[in-house]
Amino acid sequence: MGGPLDPLDALAKVCGDVRPGEPEEGVLGVTPRFVAAPGTVAEAAEVMRVAAEQGLAVIPRGGETRLDWGLPPGRCDLLLDTSRLDRVIEHAAGDLVVKAEAGLTMERLAEVLAGRGQRLSLDVPLPGSTVGGTIATGAAGPLRLLYGSPRDLVIGLTIVRADGQIARSGGKVVKNVAGYDLGRLFAGSYGTLGVIVEAAFRLHPVPSAHAYVTTRVPDAANAHEAVQGVLHSPVAPSALECEASGDGITLGVLLEGVPEGVAARATRVADLLGPGADISHEPPAWWGAYPDGTTLIEVTAPPSALAEAPAATEGTAPADGAALLWGAALAGVEGCQVRWSASGKGYVGLTANAAEVAEVLARLRTTLARHRGGAVVRYAPEGVRTADDVWGPVPALTLMRRVKAQFDPEHRLSPGRFVGGI
């Protein structure tokens, strides 16, 4: 044996698909030295073992739809690309369970499941996003109201640790309380605790009918009233969304079920929402999409926050729907767009400079804190990102750092991308 291997050679010894990284593959401007695309879980484990030996900083990459969420990594020696880990391992239709590899795209998964009349009850993702990336970002759209987010639907997870060990938690049965639930811990961990390589999910039947009921409301007080009306009624919506922009405020309710049931419930919701409500088979154009803008802020805002009385009378154009919500926290910011879900999650999109974003964040945090909510910057242009406190207060940060230190004592996994410099 000669001296220590060059990292590229060492990686190539254990993985069939290894190459130097390209500048275009940079994660928020940090170019990876190497890219490895393991084809099996065992290969992924070997790659991680070699990375540990070589002291390489690793960032997992799925469909790259949201690789720019979070902060730029302190280092990126190796992009671990999951695109070859793209198999459906088992679809146990009778058990309403599927197990798949992390690099499988959500569309492909949905296609396979639809073949048996089933679905993973997370909204159709941005094209190309993967099973692993969806879990790692904790991504969920409107259906979150009824079905929750990945943490609620993952029933088993296989990960590769920073040291290359393969570890599993959960299993492939829905009801299971044996051991700690790493599925929930890894949901929303942005690649900082380990590489997700396989996941099992609980599934639901595709409902045989659905309807969207939408209506325009003049102001936040009306939006609040309508939302409360639907929430406290027995119609059991799958989703209840609010869209607000320069054009005003629109509410949308999704009902799913059997045809007779959906028809009756849609009529009921239309009655609750008042004259002008529209029932359609098609979603409104904004449904489940990110708001536009160069900065995306995710808010935690429970229903009660909608009706916060405006803090001050800044020269708000009455037509600007976004400016009316949350005590006018967004007043005075041009071109602001809001998507809010009655599950308490929302997104604010804006194109603004660092000072304006900082101001919006501060106002949102003050207003929403009264409702135990908050605001986090998901992505923003470089100048904005570096100027602002993107995460806001993180109550359990000490514990988070300690958990991180256990999983990744050398801080080699997506270093610096997460809360508190994790």
């Binding site: 309380v177 811990l185 059991a236 007779e260 229903p303 308490g344 109550p395 230190a405 809360v419 508190g420």
Partner: protein
């Protein structure tokens, strides 16, 4: 200076008041076991705190003294999770039973950990809401215990477990600090990791629960079959038709016999299996689906179908099922309640294997199960007066868990691992799996004082912990100090 247990008791009495600290062996005896009564240990000290700050103070004292502690809610746990330490403190939440806030606009409530599960529902029912997790013990178990065990009930098939209905927990960390873990906060989902950790990551002192709208309508039917297989066919047909019932429960002949003897539930005579199917939701939705369920039950060969016309009739249908555990006492002097999970579709094979196991060993097994999600509760019957019978029953019970694992299932669906099943964990998980789970534990509780000896068969060394005592516990072997 080392703190002895009596010295600790004194310090705790000073902090919490004499009334809140128990060291009298007669009174301690109340706490020596939870619902799993074959494991017993006398705690050295029991404390009855009234606030989060008091729990934090107790934990800080224990941490400083290097003395282990265990949380206890109502003590209904069935895996020995709340089994005390003879060399430690038992922290009981029974004086923390206030409902602090009901927030209807946001569909949530904030409760103290000792609040009884059903009391949450009672408090919010006037607003048209309820707390969805409904373990059969809901009249007595605490919300803190539900969080620790990630409890579910018959209706978790549709509504999920405690993890899906808890939005935040204030906890006392093993450092003795009060921290809130909330679902919406940035960072890791430590709330998700905490729920179901069986009291090993800290003690929850305040819980924000999600409230669920009471469904507009509920429809329940009971279908009687000649055999478990026929009942299983009905379940497959219902799931296959895309129906998600609120609950699907099944009982076999032996458990029906026990329920009849105990509560005279009047199930159809001669049934080899009964199936209970409940649908709930908006009226028009349920009406359409219930008709289909009834048809599918009939097609699968039901020889009798009863439909509950009202709440009283529904309660009657559920009465037999809900009494099944206790009822088995009528047909057997002693029994083990097992809790395992299999993929639902493996039900016929696994039940056949359990039958074979029973025939071969001569140990009778009654079966009650949440058929919709494959959660089995075999009741392994034995006569504790007969030498060797308990061991044989234990053996059969363990082999049932092996069957669950062989079929890709789990060793526990709702009762938890506790002390009871820690030894089975290596059959389901590899060393690396268990080691990885314990990394979470090491992050929260590097000193290993918070409910030690539960869940994991062997503790993981957490690495250097500043200021933490190493080596044998100073009071090892001196547990009978009081």
């Amino acid at each position: 200076m080392e703190t002895t247990l009596p010295a600790l008791a004194e310090r705790l009495a000073r902090a919490l008041g004499d009334e809140a600290v128990i060291t009298d062996p007669v009174r301690l005896r109340t706490y020596e076991c939870d619902g799993l009564t074959n494991h017993r240990a006398m705690p050295a000290i029991v404390v009855l705190p009234e606030s989060a700050e008091q729990i934090a103070a107790v934990v800080r004292e224990c941490a400083a003294a290097g003395i282990p502690y265990v949380a206890r809610g109502s003590g209904t746990g069935l895996s020995g999770g709340a089994l005390p330490r003879t060399d430690g403190v038992l922290i009981v939440t029974s004086r923390m039973r206030r409902i602090l806030e009901i927030d209807v606009p946001n569909q949530r409530a904030v409760v103290e950990p000792g609040v009884i599960n059903l009391d949450v529902t009672r408090a919010v029912r006037p607003y048209g809401y309820y707390f969805a997790p409904d373990p059969s013990s809901q009249q007595i178990c605490s919300v803190g215990g539900n969080v620790a065990e990630n409890s579910g009930g018959a209706h978790c098939l549709k509504y999920g477990f405690t993890a899906h209905h808890v939005l935040a927990c204030e906890i006392v960390t093993p450092d003795g600090e009060l921290v809130t873990l909330a679902a919406g906060d940035p960072g890791y989902d430590l709330l998700g990791a905490f729920i179901g950790s069986e009291g090993t990551l800290g003690i929850t002192t305040k819980i924000t629960v999600r409230l669920t709208r009471v469904p507009e309508t509920v429809q329940t039917l009971l279908a009687a079959y000649d055999s478990i297989e026929a009942g299983g066919t009905a379940v497959s047909a219902i799931i296959g038709a895309g129906v998600v019932p609120a609950a699907i429960e099944m009982m076999d002949a032996l458990s029906i016999e026990a329920a009849e003897a105990s509560v005279a539930c009047g199930y159809p005579p001669g049934a080899g299996a009964v199936l209970i199917v409940e649908l709930d939701g908006p009226e028009p939705e349920v009406a359409a689906q219930f008709a289909e369920v009834e048809r599918l039950c009939r097609e699968a060969g039901a020889f009798e179908i009863r439909i509950a016309a009202d709440d009283a009739a529904r309660a009657l249908i559920w009465k037999g099922r809900k009494s099944a555990f206790a009822a088995v006492g009528r047909i057997s002097p002693a029994y083990i309640v097992q809790d395992g999970v299999i993929p639902r579709t493996a039900l016929p094979q696994v039940l056949a294997s359990i039958d074979a196991l029973s025939a071969e060993s001569g140990v009778r097994v009654a079966n009650v199960f949440h058929a919709g999600d494959g959660n089995l509760h075999p009741l392994v019957l034995f006569d504790d007066a007969e030498p060797g019978a308990a061991e044989r029953a234990e053996e059969v019970s363990g082999r049932i868990l092996d069957l669950c694992i062989e079929h890709g299932g789990s060793i526990t669906g709702e009762h938890g691992v506790g002390v009871d099943k820690a030894r089975y964990m290596p059959r389901m998980f590899s060393d690396a799996d268990l080691d990885t789970m314990q990394m979470v534990r090491c992050g929260f509780d590097p000193a290993g004082l918070c409910n030690p000896g539960k869940v994991f068969p062997t503790p993981r060394l957490c690495g250097e912990v500043p200021g933490v005592r190493k080596g044998p516990h100073p009071y090892e072997g001196k547990a009978d100090i009081f």
